[in-house]
Amino acid sequence: MMLHFPVLLVVVPLVMSFFIFVFGLFQRRICFPLTLVTLAACLLFAGGSFWTVLSTGQPVHYHLGAWAPPWGIEYVVDHLNGLVLVGLAIVALLAAIYAKTMVEREIPVAKHAPFYALYMLQATGLFGMTVTGDMFNLYVLLEIASFSAYALIGMGEGAAPFAAFRYMIFGTLGACAYLLGVGYLYIITGSLNMADLQQILTPLYQSQVVSVGFAFLLVGTGVKMAYFPVHTWLPDSYTLAPSSVSVLLAPLFTKVGAYVLIRILFTVFDPSFSTTLLPATQVLGWIAVAGILFSSIMALAQTDLKRMLCYLIVTEIGYIGIGVASGNRLGLTGSIFHILNDMFMMAGLFMTAGAIQAHFRTRKTDEFAGLHRKMPVTSAVLVIAGLSVIGVPPTCGFFSKWYLLLGTIQAEQWVFMGTLLLGSLLNAILFFRIFERSYFEPRPDPPHLGREPGTRFERAAMSELVPMILTAAFIILLGLFSGYIVQYSIAYAVPKGF
């Protein structure tokens, strides 16, 4: 049974999305429990596969339809994506638990069944992108994840359909660029399997076709992971999306994109291709510097909490880019660890933003006075997640920044190092402004606490608080156990060449 876990990880959510839609038409209330059970099963599959990888030290291979690669499609779980899969599964499950009350609040009743079906499809896409070992299969799953994202975002308030449409135009551009890249590589190698490509491409690195294919792949992946400057789709779409959707998308979608980038740069292509043959990592690094500075400043200028968090996502992706650009073991360790950490940090932040919007009825940070008294747990989670973004030990954010910092020092990239440190400082200003307002605003309380007069204040429900608290706990635990994670998993995920 355990042999089938890699494929079950994709097939089960896919099939369940159909069933949720059908059953949901008859009995609406069954959608949520089905979603929860499916995601819990996925956690089991991901955990089981990762455990196998850790205990045997070998990647787990699954050949779809028993066709041997490179003719058949192959699913692979190794140290790199096993870790990402487990993180994905945990955050997706927590997001789903959180989404229960949010969905009841934000989505019209008739749309619940389709909503959960799309939710499952999105999970399918995310899991699939991570677990697949075939380039074209990745495109398919990428598109599955993308268009469920477009649809989910389109369910939001106000200008959400418009934002979703613009996202779609941009996102399709990216996906098509990726497809073109795969096409060029296919022309010259005849293979679509990642491991196979690695073998066949090695003598072909001088070819222009390979370089162009590589460039297209990077552009496509860059759009999907919201790398500066093709990140412009992110702020509008994630801000206007319903809370239940942004909690799923924000932590996960861009991080899976980052994972794909690392796969392409370091597994499909030999690391030396991107570091020495083409100055790809250099270019990525300098663009990341611009991205971090730009989005940190944009984040500072926002008064809407959710929009600020969106720019923060772009900053975090920039940090991952710097780790990749350092081109050494330490930097890449930092990037991979940051992918894992950022999932939990962003999950915590977006959960609090959603809860504040739902109960405190505002997203404008100017109006946060008195927040800690009305929503103490939410404020505490916001503080922990914020400290992690800033990089205060013992939260996990500090440790990934530590490795990133060491990586830039080893690579003697002083500008990258300075940007990392400056970014931390800008993030600190960002968050402490919010902390100050929610904890210390001078009395008396302003008459308008962001609520319509006459409404009773509802406390956040258990199903919202528990995922938040768990996320905060993970942020600290990941920090404390960072040594083990790096030693037993990430150390093997980084290619031997470094």
Partner: protein, 124 residues
Amino acid sequence: MTDLILSNYNYWVYVVLIMIGFYGMMAKNNLMKKLIGMNIFQWSIILFYISIGAKKGGTIPVVDPSLHPAIRALDYVNPLPHVLMLTAIVVGVATTGIALTLLILIYRKYGTLEEDEILEALKK
């Protein structure tokens, strides 16, 4: 020069189509036209893939065991790009479907599909 164009005409076709699609996506104001541009963009890539599978003198990739005991790859058009593009077409159709739904929602809300008018309405 002519050789460069003539022997690689499939690439030139796809490049031209991509540029048309790209132009539509970026430069046009009407959201429907953007969508059409996006479609052209996607289909041109599909054309590109299919074109790379073609072989001179190759026939459709259906094997008749009675005629040919051994298979010579040269005789058959490469089936793999066709298979891949079936999937891509499905993806394109699904994306178009979602896009049209979003356009209906936008039209209901703003009464127009011109991007600049919608942006004006949003500012208020």
